[in-house]
Amino acid sequence: MSDIFGVPIQAFMGQLMLGLVNGCFYAMLSLGLAVIFGMLNIVNFAHGALYMVGAFLAWMLLNLVGVNYWVSLLLVPLAVGALGALIEKTMLRWLHGLDHLYGLLLTFGLALIIEGIFREAYGSSGQPYDLPQVFKGSFDLGFMFLPKYRAWVVIASLVVCLATWFVIEKTKLGAYLRAGTENPNLVKAFGINVPLMVTLTYAFGVGLAGLAGVMAAPIYQVSPLMGSNIIIIVFAVVVIGGMGSILGSIVTGLALGLIEGLTKVFYAEISTTVVFIIMAIVLMFRPAGLFGREK
């Protein structure tokens, strides 16, 4: 019973766990993209870059100022969110009413600028982020060792995702948001400050990316390239899930992370492409995405 299809169970569970952790990041990022897309009709190409900014801010806070992980976990999303609000107010706002493609192009330009600045300052190599003391070591589950930090990432990101889902689908604030998505003019007529809501939505979406960045910092190397590496996979995740459903993007993100982990065990050659292959298959049979509706 120590093998699964000829793979030692330790290695199997380890890869699966790593896949799940990746899936958590996919879920948090695609969730942010879906929220932003719903309200602003913009595909935020800068999402990956802002995730990278989140990781770098955490790294700088720790290594330059000595601010610990927990404070970063709170401060960095706020900072990235504030940056997002600034971007929305000074730039994205002007694209209102134009073809959606311009939003993609503008945020692509922003992604290049942000990535370029960090590459200029730190080169392309990664910076290590020291784990907080509490998370060192791992739990012995009998059949595998579960690193404490990975367990924390999975639980924390699931809580964040579900809380976001709850706020949007079950609270009054979420109802305003959803109404604003459907018909902004009507919501405006009811006396709700829609422009402010749009700014805050964007800030929240990218704040989520910043939070994911902080959580990712101790797992991956903090590098200027980490954002662009992940954002394209997240785009594929979004195409697979369809951006229409909040819960759908969470489930799709997690599932694809797991599948990626599994391919690493059984057929490593395609582990970098499996998400795209699945995307192609989904496009063949369900062009609108698994949870999507054509808009």
Partner: protein, 306 residues
């Protein structure tokens, strides 16, 4: 109409004397990217489809023609043809998938498919991963004309560029091109008039992919190099920038945009990552202030239609 032909004649003359004025190597680079951007423009400017994965055609064709010339020892014209055809074939498959989604999703699907091609190129043995295919021989055109001389090679590249540009001009002024424009303007109406919109989009995609492949294949012979840079998403972004800067939906805009971007990269290459930042700023400035692009703005000021 006559004025357009005048522009083409001036362009041809300028191209003929150019290698006696500038560096042929630099000019070849400009021309290859100008053709690449013009091919991309066929899709965004005249069909309204934003592909964010055109590097896959450019880069894949570069690999194929490089392999054909170096390993199989084929003559340059056959190598370029093979590269172009393989990009077209890639366009058939990826376009078939991508036209199933519209607008913003189309951009994401093409980006993701291009990334898949990138990863395949990272792993495939014939691309030599990080090194790329190096010192690809230019060979002898039709087995007769030796292309080793930069100026001779330049004229081949220039001929390919002019042929490509004229081909694009021909396509957009054909009945087929008019239907593409009608899809760009109002897809639902084109559909209701009985046009099989997806098929037209697919065909436009394949044509654009093949021409992008032609540019890539020519590039790999001219510079003897095919690398992962050519298939990367950054390259896809660059071609978008060239087209946006020059003017989407204009004939000469993308070529002008390519000239500017390549010149900029050439002179600023010592600045490293600053180039990326400058490109990003250009992107943002174009989208916010300058959506018609340079040629588009000039045409608008002159009050002429494209």
């Amino acid at each position: 109409m006559n004025r357009t032909w005048l522009v083409f004649v001036v362009l041809a003359l300028a191209g003929l004397v150019a290698p006696f004025v500038g560096y042929p190597i630099f000019l070849m680079k400009v021309l290859c990217f100008a053709l690449f951007a013009s091919a991309f423009n066929l899709l965004i400017g005249f069909t309204g489809l934003l592909s964010f994965g055109h590097a896959m055609f450019f880069g894949f064709a570069a690999y194929v023609s490089g392999h054909a010339a170096k390993v199989w020892g084929l003559t340059p014209e056959v190598a370029i043809l093979l590269g172009t055809l393989s990009a077209g074939a890639l366009g058939v498959v990826s376009g078939w998938l991508a036209v199933r989604r519209q607008g913003i999703y189309f951009a994401m699907v093409t980006l993701a498919l291009a990334q898949m091609v990138y990863f395949i190129c990272v792993q495939a043995p014939f691309t030599y991963a990080e090194d790329g295919i190096q010192s690809i021989p230019r060979g002898k055109l039709l087995g007769v004309v030796d292309l080793a001389n930069d100026r001779v090679m330049y004229y081949l590249v220039f001929a390919v560029f002019m042929a490509g540009l004229l081909g694009i001009y021909r396509i957009i002024h054909s009945p087929f091109g008019q239907i593409l424009k009608s899809i760009r303007e109002n897809e639902a109406r084109a559909l209701s008039l009985g046009y099989d919109v997806d098929r037209y989009k697919h065909l436009a995609f394949v044509l654009s992919a093949s021409l992008a492949g032609l540019a890539g294949a020519t590039k790999s012979l001219a510079f003897g190099l095919a690398t992962l840079t050519d298939v990367s998403w950054q390259m896809s972004g660059e071609v978008v920038l060239m087209t946006l800067l020059g003017g989407m939906g204009t004939i000469l805009g993308p070529a002008l945009g390519a000239t500017i971007v390549v010149t900029m990269q050439n002179y600023l290459s010592s600045l490293g990552s600053m180039v990326t930042i400058i490109m990003g700023v250009t992107f943002v400035a174009c989208v916010l202030l300058f959506r018609r692009g340079i040629v588009g703005e000039i045409q608008f000021r002159l009050g002429r239609k494209a």
